[in-house]
């Protein structure tokens, strides 16, 4: 019963820097959706996170997705939760976590996309900048 009542987790001292690397197109495999759930869970434990979209992963956050013909649920609106978490982390002094949402420039440009095509606000980084950022993480998870 106590476990059910406890709603706050004491995460003091166990905060790490995570990077979630999203490389795959949103539909056709479960990777994108599972990675998104993982990101949302990391927010529950107030972990620092870089959410990166590279290769076909950039398609995950493209605006105006329509999955009717594929017979799958369009989960792209859920990325809005990540954007909200980031805004909260930036603005709320009680929330001690840093989040960044980044897209690799080459992946974006090779697919004829610009930052305007995404449904959430992103930082566009060159691959060298992304590599540096990746090296600075405690944990890098790729899906």
């Amino acid at each position: 019963m106590n476990a059910e009542i406890a709603t706050e987790f004491d995460t003091e001292g166990v905060q790490k820097n995570f990077m979630f690397v999203n490389r795959k197109a949103p539909y056709g495999s479960i990777y994108a959706l599972e990675a998104l759930e993982m990101v949302l869970i990391s927010a529950a434990f107030e972990q620092n996170a870089v959410i990166a979209f590279i290769d076909d992963g950039v398609y995950q956050i493209v605006k105006g997705q329509d999955t009717k013909a594929a017979g799958m649920k369009n989960f792209s609106p859920t990325f809005g939760v990540i954007e909200m978490e980031k805004e909260d982390a930036d603005e709320d002094p009680d929330i001690d976590m840093v989040w960044r949402i980044v897209v690799e420039r080459d992946s974006m440009e090779q697919r004829g996309l610009t930052a305007e095509d995404f449904s959430i606000a992103v930082e566009v980084l060159d691959s060298a900048e992304l590599a540096d950022l990746m090296n600075a993480q405690d944990v890098v998870l790729s899906a």
Partner: protein
């Protein structure tokens, strides 16, 4: 499991979450609430309606932490805390309120 309302059957999973979200209506919500021993007040509806709007926008049911935070933002700090929400929904605010709101069970256990 299922709910019966005016001669119609609403299928649910074994924990009582309705299977077809699009069939939800307020009367059905009242019925699910009765099953949960909850008498719906305006305060309950405020949370349930909030959850439905959240789901409509983000296509996901919020985890408890996200729920309290979002409620705090929208309805103020006296309602945006787990104590207040547990008073309304003693068996887990996200879990119980989502069930009444006709949404899938949220990930993150409570």
């Amino acid at each position: 499991m299922s709910y019966q309302l005016h001669g119609s059957t609403f299928e649910s999973d074994e924990e009582g979450y309705i299977t077809d979200i699009s069939l939800w209506n307020e009367e059905l919500a009242d019925l699910i609430a009765q099953d949960e021993d909850i008498e719906m007040t305006d305060d309950h509806w405020e949370v349930v309606n909030f959850l439905r709007e959240y789901y409509e926008e983000y296509q996901i049911a919020p985890a408890i932490r996200v729920l309290t935070k979002a409620i705090k933002k929208k309805l103020g700090p006296e309602k945006g805390n787990s104590g207040y929400l547990y008073e309304l929904f003693p068996y887990g605010p996200a879990k119980q309120a989502c069930k009444i709101a006709g949404l899938p069970k949220p990930t993150g256990c409570i």
